[in-house]
């Protein structure tokens, strides 16, 4: 299973290039013109990333996360979420690397095969870095009114957080007792 993942990228690359070459397409020149477009869109997302990463970095450094974690404990118990995973839930939408570090910390502290460890794993595996995606995707365009993008995306995140505890309870109560 682990090995399979390493095949995906090289196989897809080969398949695209061979199929196109057989069809008589000038693969190299076409690749270059596409890559040039990729370069300019890469540069075009920089301003949005500077704004977002600076804000997230300052937010993390301010210790706001600890205060919010404490404040959200009653809400978490209402949603049947273990309070140990609150920092992960708070950081997951705003910082990919920050969430990864907290996730690693949770599974080494509480163990990956415990209730807390499993909820953290499901949470980490089933959600994305919402703010980063929004900043990068709209950053590449002239759009400045994102309308209901964020409310809809955050609804998905919230459902994901709640469901991670629900599914872990569901699957491990059925199979392990």
């Amino acid at each position: 299973m682990g090995q399979f993942n390493h095949y995906i990228i090289p196989v897809i690359m080969c398949a695209i290039v061979i199929y196109s070459a057989v069809k008589g397409i000038n693969v190299f020149d076409t690749f270059l013109s596409g890559a040039k477009e990729g370069f300019s869109s890469g540069i075009s997302i920089l301003p949005a990333l500077v704004a977002l990463m600076t804000a997230v970095g300052m937010f993390k450094a301010s210790g706001a996360l600890d205060v919010l974690t404490y404040g959200l404990k009653p809400l978490a118990s209402l949603l049947h979420l273990p309070s140990e995973v609150i920092p992960l839930a708070l950081l997951r939408p705003i910082s990919g690397s920050g969430a990864l570090a907290i996730f690693q910390d949770i599974i080494t502290t509480y163990g990956p095969d415990t209730f807390i460890g499993r909820v953290a794993s499901v949470m980490q595996g089933s959600t994305e870095t919402t703010f980063y995606t929004i900043a990068v995707y709209y950053g590449a365009t002239k759009i400045n009114k994102t309308r209901h993008t964020l409310p809809a995306a955050l609804t998905g995140d919230l459902v994901g957080f709640i469901m991670s505890a629900v599914t872990v309870r569901m699957f491990w109560n059925i199979f392990c007792r």
């Binding site: 993942n5 290039v17 990729g38 977002l52 690693q104 595996g125 995606t133 400045n144 809809a152 994901g160």
Partner: protein, 198 residues
Amino acid sequence: MMTWILTGMFLLSLIFGVMNGRIEQVSTAAISECGKAVELVISLLGTMCLWSGLMKVADKAGLTAKLSKLFSPVMKVLFKGMNSCSPAAKAISMNVAANLLGLGNAATPLGIAAMKELEKESPLSTSATDNMIMFVVLNTASLQLIPTTTALLRLKAGSIAPMEILPAVWLTSAAAVISALFMAKLLGRIGGKRHGAV
């Protein structure tokens, strides 16, 4: 929306920084984090060029059109008035395929290409269209079938069954994606009426 988030986060950082006596760290972060954004973009430029190039090749050979035909039943439900042969539909299909396979680094440049195509459909607007919102929301949810990074970290932390979370991850992701897309449709319909009135 992004204006308020940026303002809010700066303000919260200042308030909590003062309250927690961590204003020095906040100041350091303000200076150093913007440099990290540049580092991130530079490290992403390689994959951006690679996958945009491969996408162009696949597009010319007619591969993306085939993929977009495959996804068209789902796309018709999610995106209003989307023609499965349009450049936007092709780019969206490539992005979704990359997401499903867990190729995050490839999905981003393909997604940006899709956004640029969607923008061409309403070139004068600075307000996001319903289709753009649908597409971004789809990308803020996790479509990855096998969360390899998470499984790898579980293995490193000594898990005896790092992949046993898969069914729970699938069910959770599905619930999250469906509710996010449903909200996008619902809010789009409500907002659409208001837009129509103005």
